[in-house]
């Protein structure tokens, strides 16, 4: 089911949680709302669910398959909501938790006892917890509880699944496992799914598209590869992955950092403007001498070999600290030691000029 959000704003007192947000979500896609705390992602999710109402505005709409749901209370929207802290009904068994949505239906729409039992059992095997029906939430681990919460939401055959930081309260390893499992589940069921998370690795790994949010606004929407490699703003490049930032100035259509020149896609930026040059750690090289390339002098302060790549911390002449990731082979070739004086050089850079869109 496709969802369209038009011109939605929401404030709590003087705090603006959503500022004129518009977004279209395609039928059957798994889309993440990614951003730091306070960016508005959970508020947006709750507005879609019907748990919060947007600020009144004749141009604001929330449309499910083209139908305006403004007057539909949350119980009528057929959304499956999964909470960060599970919100399982403590005093009911796993079976009763999952069956809940079916049991509270008005008599005319309520399935028979047998139908309920079959549905719950098929969901239990979907979440790989067959036989757990008679257990109680406090007897389950965090990952198991979250799967039950998901099954409970799926039982009502929702049009859209809304997941509010579902793995936030779990250990890293469990989180990764559940993430893969969720993606597999989505591929099988194809329910439109909206996932709220502050974990960028999660968003990039699991989604069809990512919506990067910051301070009540949408920074960028796109496929994970797009937002990572073609960030639309300083916030996006800074938020996703590690990045080094250098401060230089614009001169004759180029960003200038000491001896380094970075070409700009828009040559009309006025001279003298401040240029923020962003370079990812693995887009930099280290060399023993400056050679013919424009480069910066730096001193090695830390070598971290624990990981797939070697992470080198360096300090520039102007006391700025940077990080460069190189392969183990490159590390061996260079034979780097602490306090070595070397030269660093960016292979790829992205320039942002504050207050000026390039």
């Amino acid at each position: 089911m496709s969802i369209e959000i038009k011109n939605i704003s929401k404030s709590f007192g003087s705090f603006s949680a959503l500022n004129n947000i518009s977004l279209k979500i395609e039928n059957g896609e798994l889309i993440s709302l990614l951003g730091p705390s306070g960016s508005g992602k959970t508020t947006l999710l709750r507005v879609i669910a019907g748990m919060e109402s947007p600020d009144p505005n004749p141009d604001s709409h929330v449309l499910f398959f083209g139908e305006d749901v403004a007057n539909k209370p949350v119980g009528d929207r057929k959304v499956g909501f999964v909470f960060q802290h599970y919100a399982l009904f403590k005093h009911m068994s796993v079976f009763e938790n999952i069956a809940f949505g079916l049991r509270v239906r008005p008599r005319s729409q309520r399935p028979s006892e047998n139908a309920i039992r079959d549905k719950v059992h098929s969901l239990l095997s979907l979440i790989q917890l067959e036989g757990f029906g008679s257990r109680f939430p406090k007897q389950l681990s965090g990952g198991q509880r979250q799967r039950v919460a998901l099954a409970r939401a799926l039982a009502i055959e929702p049009q859209v699944l809304l997941l509010d930081e579902p793995f936030g309260a779990l250990d890293a390893k469990v989180r990764k496992g559940l993430r893969d499992w969720l993606r597999g589940l989505h591929d099988e069921l194809n329910t439109t799914t909206i996932l709220v998370t502050h974990d960028q690795e999660e968003a990039l790994e699991v989604s069809d598209r990512v919506v990067v949010m910051n301070q009540a606004k949408i920074e960028q929407v796109g496929a994970p590869a797009d937002v990572f490699h073609h960030p639309a703003s300083e916030f996006v490049i800074d938020f996703l992955g590690n990045v080094n930032v250098f401060h230089g100035r614009i001169n004759q259509g180029q960003a200038v950092l000491d001896t380094i020149r970075v070409g700009l896609s828009d040559p009309n930026v006025p001279d003298g403007e401040q240029a923020n040059v962003y370079v990812r750690p693995n887009d930099m090289s280290i060399a023993r001498n400056s050679m013919s390339q424009a480069s910066m002098a730096a001193k090695v302060t830390r070598i971290n070999r624990a990981g797939v790549q070697a992470k080198i911390n360096l300090i520039l002449d102007n006391q700025e600290e940077i990080r460069v990731d190189i392969t183990m082979e490159q590390l061996l070739e260079l034979d780097l030691q602490l306090d070595d004086a070397v030269f660093v050089h960016p292979n790829k850079a992205r320039v942002f000029v504050p207050d000026y869109t390039i």
Partner: protein
């Protein structure tokens, strides 16, 4: 209630003689101030033997007093229970203007002297009171009659259930209720199936205390009753009357029932407190991270 596991290590940092002294003083003080009065009630009641004890219950006035007490409690407790649940629900799950005022008002009967509580009822419902005159026209007498006793009892026991449930429901949050609503449950279903089971121990605790106070209330009902024996005397008032007649065995015999009620309340309270603590610590666990998938 304290279950401080740190206490063992820290306590041993105090010199032994200090510990000995402090513990002895505590036990002595409590024994003198609390245990002794409790024991005295039963001792005095049985002073003239068991048969004298049992005789006091044959008195018609005694039976009537017991009946009045049960009536007042029987009305006050359920009414305050419903109110308590409604108010806590409103306070814990919603935000509205005047919320703090509501909370302060709920605590009010707790703080006011019972005599003043009784007095205000006379002012409203007494013969010269606002509503008193109006009700008299309908032949309803409130003060110096049964309705007055019931009303005064409701007033003084009013906060108990609410005070217990408000922090409990606030702590539990409303996520489970939101989950239920998102799954299609209506308000009533959500309340019965989700909210109520979560607060059942708190409700029991509140009811227990409410009942103890309702049955034992003295000051407020003293003021609004006519102290006519066999008429509007509750058990505490009857005890007062017997005592003033120097009929001490009967007075203490009646008192022993209430003392027994007090002890039962105390035991029930202690058990329920443990139960409540267990519930809060297990719900805390659900928000911490786990090991296995």
């Amino acid at each position: 209630m304290s279950t401080n596991t740190k206490g063992i290590k820290i306590g041993q940092q105090d010199p032994t003689w200090v510990r000995f002294l402090v513990i002895s003083i505590s036990i002595a003080f409590v024994a003198l101030m609390l245990v002794l009065p409790l024991g005295v009630v039963f001792w005095e009641a049985f002073r003239k033997g068991v048969s004298a004890y049992l005789d006091s219950f044959q008195d018609r006035n005694a039976i009537r007093a017991i009946y009045m007490t049960c009536l007042a409690a029987g009305i006050a407790v359920p009414l305050n229970l419903v109110f308590g649940i409604a108010a806590s629900w409103a306070i814990a799950k919603f935000n509205f203007r005047g919320k703090s005022l509501l909370i302060a008002l709920i605590d009010l009967p707790f703080a006011i002297s019972p005599v003043i509580s009784g007095l205000v009822y006379i002012l409203v419902f007494g013969m010269q009171g606002w509503l008193g005159k109006w009700l008299e026209g309908y032949g309803i007498q409130v003060i110096f009659a049964v309705p007055g006793i019931v009303l005064a009892t409701i007033f003084v026991t009013f906060p108990f259930v609410a005070r217990e449930l408000i922090p409990l429901m606030q702590e539990q949050g409303s996520e489970e209720e939101w989950a239920a609503i998102s799954l299609g449950a209506n308000g009533w279903q959500t309340f019965w199936r989700v909210t109520l089971p979560n607060i059942k121990w708190g409700v029991l605790y509140g009811v227990l205390l409410c009942n103890a106070r309702a049955m034992g209330e003295f000051g407020a009902v003293s003021v609004v009753s006519s102290n006519i024996r066999g008429g509007t005397n509750t058990l505490p008032l009857h005890i007062d009357a017997l005592y003033n007649d120097y009929n001490s065995v009967a007075a203490f015999a009646m008192a022993s029932i209430l003392a027994l009620l007090g002890v039962i309340t105390l035991i029930g309270k202690t058990l329920l407190e443990r139960k409540l603590q267990q519930e809060t610590s297990s719900s805390l666990e659900s928000s911490t991270t786990e090991e296995s998938k």
